[in-house]
Symmetry: C2
Subunit: 339 residues, 2 copies
DNA sequence: CTTGGCACTCCCCGAACCCGAGTGCCAAGT
DNA sequence: ACTTGGCACTCGGGTTCGGGGAGTGCCAAG
């Protein structure tokens, strides 16, 4: 009972602060939410909440502001789900259905997510490690350059240019191509290294260096190296918070330019459902006053990658979570149709 | 003589303003540059320059600030070239030489350009319209999806997924693939449409829809649709201008998220050498207080695309121009080696 | 445990203010 | 015809001061 009201107060504080971006005081609280008690009572609750670390006051004699811990409690126990409207759902589906290839799906997804959450959006390409090779193509670009192209069953296409010391004959290239296809086609990525490892042994000594170069390029492509790719969008939303905020955008923009950082943000998503990292829970320096909400997408039994958004800690959690969740589901569906 | 000094004054104003970001007054001018005259004389010159529209004062009794017109004159007639140091050149070359494929060249270039100019960098992928087809591959992804991959002689790889109504046999796919290769391989893009247009006529009526779908996908890929692609980097530099500036970053970030806008910025580059667009000369709304410096890259006789940077009008023009120029040259060289 | 009252603390805002940098003009000098 | 020093004037920016107000913590009574 008592506990209940305290939590209600915390919820009210979070909601008001998210709406107004200003510290909220006891009087304003009782006016806007109809808790059936007096401001004085609320003040006692607030003092208790502050002791427990859920809220803080920026200055003496100012209102209260939620702490990271406060948001955490709000997200875990207090926030309901705010389902998307059905026009919204239709718009999402329609927009994603129009995509013509994987690149298009990814770029549409990131734009969509940024637009509906009004925040910075992140989308990771389907991971290669759980995919298989559909086809391998090896083509001569010039007398000293080959290009090897791997077509993945998710529709992703990876390529790599190989410099070779000396010219090779078309026959050698054709042979190499045929053997690569025979060895790797249809195989899951994890099996490819073993399948192609000994391939160069079949060639004349003269051609072995080329074979080895090609094989090692393929190996690089199917192992972690090229695996991860993240697209980013909606950075303009960062500038929306009139300078009034401690959210200095420069470090955030800097962090978001590093692929490694993006992968850390998306990668640490916990197994199922939605992951919410609030403020300092965040593994990345410079993003201490942002929250990151991510979801996995792909088959339920076998997620292929993650997507999510980055925004200020004082964001609309229920709405954002719902949006991320919905987009992840629709993307999963689109990609499933491909498989 | 008189004219000479006025221009020297303009140059001094631009240089000081770029360095300090503060309106510059007559007294400070004579102190920092050794023009052999008194502040009063400078004041007369400044009044004249203001009448002619090259400089302006933000408020009465403040120093002067260059106008767009002033920067224009500075760039056209006053700025020397500020060559890069040889360690810088070496670093550029080395960094680009390590690239493993075209995507890598592009992403390295954009990072490089952003880093050395400390501004937002833009790099356009080599245009397809002046390239030729090296190889075409057609692969079955699932019973109702094909993927067609076009390998371009610049090392660029384009792909597209095709939905088909009904399953097709492997034989049909193989046939289609062979005919595509025969018709298009080695041809410049401009010749491809004619070469593949009648391809579907060779097929049984049952297979014609599939053939047509594939052909039209190829046509879309070689014509304007997928042609243009721009990568962007260094947006964090936008936030560097402490709020002191009229450069509201939100509209800039917004503009830079539109591929169309990026293409307009890069596309309108004049034929040869470096293009500099200052402030309102800029074709894009929201970028009125930024300048854009672009250069074409590729073979001298046949440039393939553009790259450049976007920064505040009060940028270091000589340095930035030199950097853009140098990077364009090195990228050209790298790509030439491929051809 | 709740509530009204009350004293206290700061933050924010506006007004008044001064200071200094910078200008424009003018009259004298070269 | 320019250049120069002098001089009055303007105006933006920083500082100080004080009041108003929102909000708090505590206490004593219900």
């Amino acid at each position: 009972m008592l506990e209940d009201r305290r939590l209600a107060v915390l919820r009210a504080i979070v909601e008001d602060y998210v709406a107004t971006h200003e510290p909220v005081g006891s009087k304003a609280l009782v006016e806007r939410h109809n808790l059936g008690v007096s401001p004085a009572t609320i003040r006692n609750d607030m003092a208790a909440l502050e002791d427990e670390g859920y809220i803080a006051q920026p200055h003496t004699s100012a209102g209260r502001v939620p702490t990271d811990l406060g948001y955490r409690l709000f997200v875990d126990r207090l926030s309901g789900v705010k389902p998307l409207s059905s026009p919204e759902r239709r718009a999402i589906q329609q927009f994603l259905d129009d995509a013509v290839d994987l690149d298009d799906v990814m770029s549409r997804t990131v734009r969509l997510l940024a637009q509906i959450t009004r925040q910075v959006a992140l989308v990771q390409y389907p991971s290669l490690s759980r995919s298989s090779v559909r086809h391998i193509e090896l083509v001569t670009l010039s007398s000293t350059r080959l290009i090897v192209v791997v077509i993945v069953d998710t529709g992703r296409v990876e390529q790599r240019i190989i410099e070779i010391g000396a010219p090779v004959t078309d026959a050698t290239v054709a042979d190499l191509r045929a053997r690569l296809i025979a060895a790797a086609s249809g195989k899951p990525f994890s099996d490819v290294p073993a399948a192609v490892a000994e391939l160069d042994a079949a060639f004349e000594p003269d051609d072995r260096p080329v074979a080895r170069a090609v094989v090692s390029a393929v190996l690089e492509m199917v192992t972690e190296r090229g695996e991860e790719r993240v697209v980013l969008g909606g950075t303009a939303h960062l500038a929306r918070y009139g300078e009034s905020f401690p959210l200095a955008i420069q470090p955030v923009l800097e962090a978001l330019e590093e692929q490694v950082v993006l992968l850390r943000l998306l990668g640490e998503a916990s197994a199922g459902g939605i992951t919410v990292r609030i403020g300092h829970e965040n593994p990345v320096e410079g993003l201490g006053s942002t929250s990151v909400i991510t979801a996995r997408y792909g088959r339920v039994d076998q997620p292929v990658a993650s997507l999510g958004v980055v925004g200020p800690t004082h964001m609309d959690y229920p709405g954002t979570i719902a949006a991320v969740h919905a987009v992840a589901r629709y993307v999963s569906r689109i990609l499933d149709e491909t498989a």
